[in-house]
Structures are given as C-alpha cells and as structure tokens.
C-alpha cells in the first residue's frame, strides 16, 4: 500500500517501501504554467529536509524544489530533461522529480495528509 503526503511548498511525497518519490502537486504545476526546464539532483547526494535540490522553470519564472525529507537521492527522472512538459501533463505521475531514501520515517508521517493539503490550497 502506498502512502502520499504533501508539503507546505506544494510538493507530494509518495512512499514506496523504503523509498520516497517526490514531485510537485497539480496545484503547483498549474500555478507555474508551462514547464520548460528542470534541473535535478545527482543520485547519491545527501540532503537535509527543506534543502533546495531541484529547480523547475516555466515560461514565466524559476522555482526551487525542496527535499521534503532528510535522506539520500537515489534516482532522478531523466525523462524530464528532454520532456519537461511531463510536469504539466502528469504532475503526480510521469512528472515526478526524484526518489530518495529516508533518514527518519517520522519526518514523513509529520507531513500534510491529502485533506490537510487540500485545505492549504483552498485557503491560499
């Protein structure tokens, strides 16, 4: 069974066993507009929670993507380099950014659940 959590920075985190898959939410992708470039972290990089690790650029502007948890990057979605528009097509599917191992499971549990995130978007 997969579990999904969200961050205040409009990222989603899906737990698949010991690995967390990370991307930006549909709300964030829509707000950014057409994504034309992404810069992804190198696998093997150790990251702290909240560290800027990736960049997403739309026609309009550049935004940072943060590590939602402490851990180590295990994989980046290389398809996004040639097809950055996948972030708009499937922000919570083929538009994933990177995968990472978790240093501390409690950090995941402390993130927003779907209801809390929906409330955040609604209040924004």
């Amino acid at each position: 069974m997969t579990e999904i959590r969200y961050t205040q920075d409009h990222e989603w985190v899906r737990l698949e066993g010991d690995i967390a898959v990370v991307g930006i939410t549909a709300h964030a992708a829509d707000a950014l507009g057409d994504v034309v470039f992404v810069e992804l972290p190198e696998p093997g990089r150790e990251v702290t929670q909240g560290e800027a690790v990736a960049v997403v650029e739309s026609v309009k502007a550049a935004s940072d993507v943060y590590a939602p948890l402490a851990g180590r990057i295990t994989e980046s979605n290389a398809d996004l380099e040639s097809s950055p528009g996948n972030v708009n097509l499937g922000p919570e599917a083929e538009g994933w950014f990177f995968k990472m191992s978790l240093a501390n499971r409690a950090e995941f549990d402390a993130l927003l659940d779907a209801a809390a995130y929906a409330k955040l978007v609604e209040e924004a």
Partner: protein, 368 residues
C-alpha cells in the same frame, strides 16, 4: 497595503475566459488564459492572437506646432512622416538616455496620434504638455481601448470585419469602419514580429468588437506572458527592462530611430550627447544571446567572458517557444558584441555557455 487596480474595458471578458489576472502598470491585466503561455505564443505565430493593450497610453497632438513640439523631444523625422503613416520613436533625456519608446502616426496635416507605454504614459504626456505652445493641444484618449490582432492570419480575419483594412501596408494608419460597430482607428503594426493590426476603439464598443474577433476560428485570446515571449523572439526591446534612462538609443541598437536630417543639428533632447557617442562609438551594446541547453537565463543574470570576467547583465531572458530554446538580451562591451562571440550567462552560480546572436531571433513577417 493593497492598491486598487484600474481595469480595461475588456476586464469582464478576460475573467469570463478564465484569464489569470495580474497587476501590470497599475492595471489588472491577463497574463495568460487556460491555453497557457506556450500554446498562446505558438498560436499567434501560427494563426492569430488577440491582445488587450488598452492599458497603453493613446493621445492626439494637434495644432500648428505639433510636429515641431514632438521633434524637440525625439530623434525621429516627424516632419517627413506622410499622412497615413506611422513610425517608431523614442522620448530621449537630456543625458542621452531613453524615457520611453512609442509609436507616432500622422493622421492629418497638423495632427499626430501617439501610443506610449502604460507605465510611462503619465510622465510622457506631462513631458509633452510642458512643451506645448498656445494653439497646440495634447488630448489623451482614456476612453478608448486598444486591441492588437497579431499573426499570419490576422489580416484575413480583420478584413472580414473591416474590408478597407486589406489595402493597408506595414506602418499604415487609417480610420476604418468595422461592420456593425462603426469607426475604429487601425495601424498595421504591433510588437510581436508578426503581421497584424493595433486597433483603437471607443471603450464602450471594445468588448463587442473583441467578442466578434474571438468568434473567428483563427483567433485566440493571448495574455501578457506570450506578448513578452513573442517580442523577445522578435528582438524588440521592452521599456524599463532593455531600454531606460541609462541606455542610449545607440547602445540599445536603436540608432535607426535617429533620423538623418535630425543628425544635421541634433536639435532634440540629449542630441549632442548622442552625437558624441556616435562619433566615439558606444561603450556597450544591446545584444541577443542564445544559450546552449534548455535552462533559461532571466533578467538580472550576469553575462561573463569564457574566462569568468563579468561584462554585463541580462535585461530580458526566457524560453523561446518558437525556437524551443532559451534566449536573452543584454548589454556587453562593444568589443564583445560581435555576432558569434562565445560568452556565458551565470545562472544559479553556474556559467551557461551562450553565444551572441543576431536579432530578431525569429524573422519578422511584416506586410510591406
């Protein structure tokens, strides 16, 4: 503190069409519609796009001294402008900079029609007003909307509504009848690099006119986001970014706007400063830059030589949808401004290889 934004006569229409509205020069303006900037941009290059540019300043300068008054403030040949013709010009400053760029058209023997940038309009019109002799008047047209219909199919679409427009060529101006809507003032010009028209129409008829154009299958509503990427690809400078009071027309690559006759006496604001700059050569120049890779470089990014020496700054930059690649404009020393020169733009601390490129990046397709 929230400041009340002005709205254009098309405000209701923008919101009805799902536009994302943003503050721009004191107005609530559509930055994009649900189609998105990328598709809006490509649609304009492929078919026709309708832009609301009603925030821009429109005015009539009329009287026996209208031409002489304007010629004091700009380096253009206004006296030589034939009735029915339009020209691009610049308001210059005493120190040889640019206080705005604008379009001027001659609509009568002693009558000029001006269109200036929204953010500069109050200052521009106040500036002109200080020069007015008795008998010459400046009248602002705050009651008029301005729509731009741009793209390779714009002329065919507009001719269905205003048949007389078919006879116009690039930079012509004419007062025309639009079927069912009466008189409008149209120029065959715009700021996208495409053929098209800018149409001035009384505000109370603008929405009906916009709806009629948007009902045409070729036409989509286009926001300010795509307007910016279109003009960037066309190599056209944006006031407040690529040109301002610190950039001279010569450094900006706008020397063409300094008319030959006007160079006889340099009798306009900042003229003598510009004469010296032309004689000695400008120290820096506005250039186009094409980056390797896909990462865009934005306004404010530093431009460096391959050895790392910072030599300039990006004044406009972004992703060019028609080229599927990032492009930028910026200023560099004249010695580094030669087409093909290898430079780098520093983005997030990393030098991205870039090359000085001729502009326009995408060829103009005006109807001459």
């Amino acid at each position: 503190m929230s400041e009340t934004l002005l709205t254009t006569p098309l405000d209701t229409l923008h919101r009805e069409r799902g536009a994302r509205m943003v503050p721009f020069a004191g107005y609530a303006m559509p930055v994009q519609y649900p189609m998105g900037i990328l598709t809006e941009h490509l649609h304009t290059r492929d078919k026709a796009g309708l832009f609301d540019v009603s925030h821009m300043g429109q005015a009539t300068l009329k009287g026996p001294d209208a031409i002489a008054t304007l010629e004091k403030l700009c380096p253009g040949d206004i006296a030589g402008l034939k009735p029915g013709r339009q020209r691009y010009s610049l308001f210059t400053t005493e120190s040889g900079g640019i206080s705005d760029d604008f379009m001027v058209a001659r609509v009568g023997e002693d009558e000029l029609f001006l269109v200036v940038n929204a953010a500069c309009k109050d200052a521009d019109f106040a500036h002109v007003a200080t020069q007015l002799p008795v008998g010459t008047t400046l009248t602002r047209h705050e009651d008029r909307a301005l729509l731009a219909l741009q793209g390779p199919l714009a002329a065919a679409v507009f001719a269905r509504h205003a048949p007389a427009s078919a006879a116009m060529k690039f930079m012509d101006i004419a007062d025309l009848d639009v079927i069912g809507l009466g008189r409008v003032r149209a120029t065959r010009s715009g700021y996208t690099g495409e053929d098209g028209f800018e149409i001035s129409i009384p505000g109370d008829r603008a929405e009906a006119f916009a709806r009629a154009l948007l009902a045409e299958p070729e036409v989509a509503a286009i926001g300010l986001g795509a307007r910016d990427s279109l003009r960037l690809e066309a190599g056209l400078p944006l006031y407040g970014h690529d040109i301002d009071t610190t950039t001279s027309p010569i450094a900006a690559g706008l020397t063409f706007a300094i008319n030959k006759r006007r160079k006889m006496d340099w009798g306009f604001l900042g003229g003598l400063v510009m004469r010296d700059e032309l004689d000695n050569g400008p120290s820096r120049l506005r250039v186009g830059l094409r980056l390797e890779g896909r990462a865009p470089a934005r306004e404010g990014a530093e431009i460096a030589r391959p050895d790392g020496t910072v030599i300039g700054v990006v004044t406009s930059g972004g992703f060019a949808p028609s080229l599927n690649a990032p492009i930028a404009m910026g200023y560099v020393p004249a010695a580094d401004a030669v087409d093909g020169t290898e430079l780098a733009i520093i983005v997030r601390g990393k030098p991205l290889p870039a090359r000085v490129s001729p502009m326009p990046f995408v060829p103009h397709r005006y109807f001459r």
